[in-house]
């Protein structure tokens, strides 16, 4: 069993320490801002929840807090980018992606400004605060916008890499910065490549494609499956857009099924993206697929309990793998 606690996550009998990715996010941003005056942070009264206190202390003029006004916040970000700044626009995921959707569409993606939209505490990080404060629709909404890269770092290393990459990307980016603590699993030296999945474990029976907070759970599922004699490949979907179509085709060719896992609604997120590739493949390559995510308003539960409620657990991922293989 891989029962998570507040301070650790158990994988293969080992208790791994867990971390809030907002810390790595803020530290990297501050470090880069020291040598790059173009970097500014824009937020909606979220200095605390976006973990920007340190940034404000060091760069008071470059922390632009527009108050509780997300439409203005995203527009201001576009204007700053118009004038050559590199704005990190930070707000809780639900309000950034939901309240300011049209600004993200017209002012950022369609105008093609290099704004980094930072969806803080995405998914169901706000637990008992309920569906209004959960950001599970964002992947569906953001995937519909051409030119918008969607990045979901899985741990501290990838969060640091994502921030560094975004500064130089020169294009619109939607970056999910997790608050719910996760273990560090991506090996030092792993490259961070736009549009590429990261292979976390090799395997030839089945492929699990997981994103962000769900990568550690997919790896925990691998150890369960190993005991059952199943060899699972885990692909870390660091980017959902652009999509790593080649990695999906390769998985379809080399393994007998695919299970996707995301802390998001299944209507249009990672699983839907993978399905859109699989559906175009011919005959034997069109392997069975299971999509694990949310599909309804969440009840009043903690984040961890919500993960269990929606089957976002190592045990359920392993179970889905077995169902996929049984259909093969």
């Amino acid at each position: 069993m891989s029962a998570p606690t507040a301070n650790s996550y158990l994988i293969d009998g080992v208790e791994l320490p867990v971390f809030d990715n907002r810390v790595a996010f803020a530290n990297t941003l501050i470090e880069l801002a020291r040598t790059d005056e173009r970097i500014v942070a824009v937020c909606n009264d979220s200095v605390g929840s976006s973990n920007l206190g340190g940034f404000r202390e060091e760069f008071p003029d470059r922390l632009i807090n527009v108050g509780i006004a997300e439409q203005n916040m995203v527009g201001v970000g576009a204007g700053l980018a118009n004038a050559g700044m590199i704005p990190f626009v930070c707000a809780a995921g639900p309000f950034l992606s939901g309240r300011a959707t049209e600004q993200v569409k017209a002012d950022v993606a369609y105008s093609y400004f290099p704004v980094i939209l930072c969806a803080m505490s995405p998914g169901m990080a706000y637990g008992e605060l309920g569906p209004t404060h959960h950001s599970v629709e964002d992947l569906s909404w953001m995937r519909a916008l051409p030119n918008l890269d969607i990045v979901m770092p899985a741990d501290e290393l990838q969060t640091q890499q994502a921030v560094r990459w975004a500064v130089d990307a020169g294009r619109p980016v939607y970056l999910r910065v997790g608050r719910h603590k996760v273990p560090n699993l991506v090996a030092d030296g792993t490259p961070f490549t736009r549009g590429a999945f990261v292979e976390m474990t090799s395997g030839n029976d089945v492929t699990i494609i997981a994103a962000g907070s769900m990568v550690s759970r997919a790896i925990a599922a691998v150890s369960i499956l190993k005991q059952q004699g199943v060899s699972a490949r885990v692909l870390n979907a660091t980017f959902i857009a652009p999509l790593d179509v080649e990695a999906i085709k390769k998985a379809a060719k080399e393994t007998r099924g695919i299970v996707t896992v995301e802390e998001a609604n299944v209507a249009g997120g990672l699983g839907a993206a993978v399905a859109s590739v699989l559906g175009t493949l011919e005959g034997a390559s069109r392997v069975p697929l299971r999509i694990v995510g949310t599909d309804d308003w969440s009840p009043t539960l903690s984040t961890d309990a919500l993960y269990t409620h929606f089957g976002l657990t190592a045990e359920n991922i392993a179970q889905q793998v077995n169902e996929v293989l049984a259909r093969d």
């Binding site: 006004a69 439409q71 203005n72 527009g75 576009a78 700053l80 980018a81 004038a83 017209a106 369609y110």
Partner: protein, 294 residues
Amino acid sequence: MTVLAANPVDVAAWGELRSQLNTADSNRKAELLANQARLARRQIIQMIDGAGQGHIGGDFSVIDVMTTLFSAVLNIDPANPTMDNRDRFILSKGHCSAALYTTLAFNGFFDRAELSTFMAPYSALNGHPNRNKVPGVETNTGPLGHGLPVGVGTAIAAKLKKTGARTFVILGDGEMQEGSNWEALMSAAHFKLDNLTAIVDRNRLQQGARTEDTNGLDPLDEKLAAFGLEVREIDGHDFVALLKALEPSTTGKPVAIIANTKKGKGVSFIEDRVEWHHKVPSKDQVVQALEELS
């Protein structure tokens, strides 16, 4: 797709008019600007006639303001449209793209010949402006309530970079019903953006009816002042008044200009009529309009 590039002939004409305006007295300035705006109106009506669609009423209410800005006020270089310290001009009421394209082409940002492609298949000149296709467009507008927040961003950037650049945003009066504009006004005042001028094209009509019969804006001056703006109310077709109103802030506050205008200004049968929001003139009406604008 062709990338639109500056036209040296019109860039030179822009420079020539600018230098004339710099030395002329008020009457002569008004005369020069009125002539430029008259030519722009003639161009716009021909574009809308060619495309079979467009927003003639708003184009005509706002073209005097836009002509004044580009000919006499903005620190720009049409041959170098992305100059770092340029003033920013944002047309928040993006549906008046024909007025914007005409103004940009007349000032040399791209070739006038391109104007005949307005809204034609695959034209760079979409019904709403796209900065990635049209030089001189600062941000993509069309949905209302978007330009002013972006202008707040460019004004903050100018302060941070100490470029001295000013930002001008033109908004429709109906557009002031969008909440995002009031978010932006609040922050413009809070951040003391005295380098920002918001110009409301107060023609008192919106797509379906008069603004005051739809969701009334009056007293707009008091509302803007209460939000912390330095308010200047003028006749938006009076070039001397426009030149004065477009001068920098004197109070350290951002400036809001209420430009009282007539929708469809310049053509008798179009003026101040709600149906001309996006009505297209018949061939006879085009002839009559061009005659009135000759």
